[in-house]
Subunit: 208 residues, 2 copies
DNA sequence: GAATTTAGTTGAACCAGTTCAACTAAATTT
DNA sequence: AAATTTAGTTGAACTGGTTCAACTAAATTC
C-alpha cells in the first residue's frame, strides 16, 4: 500500500489512467497487463464526511485515491479521535489490519472532501495474485513501502518533540498541510488541537 | 518480515529446521521448495553486544533469529537510545528502510545475548523471488505482517498512556519482558528507564 | 574475588504538553 | 442572510512523564 512517504509522479489521463500508470511505475509491467489489473477495480464517488469503513463492520476493500482526500482514524473510549493515515491522489487507504486479516474494522475511513476512489475487493485481489506473479510483486512492494513508512513514523514519535514532528511534517508534506483540517493533523501528529494552534502561531511569528 | 505480533509455533529440528518450518508455515509450500529457500541463508553466531548493523554502513542482510535475542535502536544527537524492535527465536530483524532501499543504516542492530541467526543477503533474496513466485509471496506476507504490526504500534503510541503501553506489552509478550533489559524496554515503549522503574514498582505492589 | 563497569532505583524539582473554559471565525444549513 | 454547527484560538491551571543527582545491585573484567 502506498503511503504518505512514497508518492509517485502523476500518470496519464485515460479512464484507468492514474491506476494503470501507478501500477506500471511500481511493477514495470506492460500497458495491457496493467489494464488487467485496473479492470478489477470499481470507481466510486464519496461525498465529504461519508464513511467507507466503520468499526465493527467487515472491510471488503482497499482504496486507491483518484481524486480528493480521505482520512482514517480510531476513536478511544473517552471519545478522542486519533488520525492514523491521510490519503490524497495516488495514495492508498483502508484499515489494513482488518482488510488483510479479514476482521471487522477498528477504524473509520472517511472523506475529507468529495472524492473519487478506485476500490479493490479482497477476493479480486487474491484472483489477481493467482493470475500473475507480477501482481503479487506489486502488493509486496506496496506493503514494504507501507512498512518502511510506518517504521519511520514510529521513530519520529519516539525521537521528536511535538514541535519537531509538526515542522518535519510541514517540510515533508507541504501540500497536505494546506488540505487537511487542523484537528485531524494534530491528532495525526499526536498532540491536541490547542497545542498545534499554539505551535503554528509561534512558527508563523518566527518566520516573519 | 515477522514481527513481535505474529510469532509462529516452533518447527522441527534438522539443520535448516526452524527456517524451512517457518517458510512452510507462512507460504504452505513443499519441503523441497522450502529447502531451496533455506540453502540461500548463512548461519552466523553473534556474541552478546556485537553489532550486525551500524549507522552509515550498508545493510546487506536481513536476519532470521534461530537462537537468542537481538535489538535494533536509533541514537539521537543528544545521545539517547530508542529501541525500534526486538527479535527472538523465529522472528526477523534488520534496518528495513536501509535494507529494502539499499541505503546506509540509520540504526544499530545488536545482540542482547549470544545468538545464532540465519542471514539472507539482498541479492539472494532477489534471486529467490525471480526463481519462484512463492518466495515473492513469502516476502509479501512478511511485509504485510510487519506493516499491520507497525500500524498497531503507532495506534498504541497515539492512544495509550505510558502505563497502559507497559501493561499491554507485558500482557502480549510476557516471555520477552523477562528477557530484555529494562532500559531497552523503556525506550521501546517510549518512556525513560526511571519512569518504567516506578511503574513496575507500582504494578508489583498492586498485584500483591 | 576485588575492582570496575553496567543496569536499575528512588526522590525532588521541573516542564512539555493537556485540560478546561470562554471566545472568535468560518463553513454549512435553513 | 440569519441561524446553527463545526473548526480554530487564547489563556490559566494542571499533570504525566522527564531530568538530574545520588545511590544500590548486579554483571563483567582483571
Amino acid at each position: 500500500m502506498k503511503t504518505l512517504a512514497e508518492k509517485d509522479t502523476p500518470g496519464e489521463e485515460n479512464v484507468y489512467g492514474e491506476l494503470t500508470g501507478h501500477i506500471r511505475r511500481v511493477t514495470g509491467i506492460e500497458e495491457d497487463e496493467a489494464r488487467t489489473f485496473a479492470v478489477m477495480f470499481r470507481e466510486k464517488n464519496i461525498r465529504k464526511r461519508q464513511f467507507v469503513v466503520q468499526p465493527d463492520f467487515p472491510v471488503p476493500h482497499r482504496y486507491y485515491v483518484k481524486k480528493g482526500a480521505l482520512r482514517s482514524y480510531v476513536v478511544t473510549e473517552d471519545g478522542q479521535e486519533h488520525t492514523i493515515a491521510f490519503a490524497i491522489e495516488d495514495w492508498w487507504i483502508t484499515d489494513y489490519n482488518a482488510y488483510l486479516y479479514r476482521q471487522n474494522a477498528t477504524m473509520f475511513v472517511t472523506a475529507l472532501e468529495d472524492s473519487v476512489v478506485m476500490q479493490l475487493d479482497y477476493e479480486s485481489e487474491q484472483k489477481l495474485k493467482d493470475l500473475n506473479p507480477a501482481f503479487d510483486r506489486f502488493f509486496r512492494i506496496a506493503a514494504e513501502r507501507g512498512l518502511a513508512y510506518q517504521q519511520r513514523r514510529v521513530i519520529a514519535n519516539l525521537t521528536l518533540s511535538a514541535e519537531q514532528r509538526y515542522l518535519q511534517f510541514v517540510r515533508q508534506y507541504p501540500a497536505l498541510v494546506q488540505r487537511v483540517p487542523q484537528y485531524a493533523l494534530a491528532s495525526f501528529l499526536g498532540m491536541t488541537t490547542e497545542y498545534l494552534s499554539k505551535l503554528r502561531k509561534k512558527a508563523v511569528s518566527a518566520d516573519k
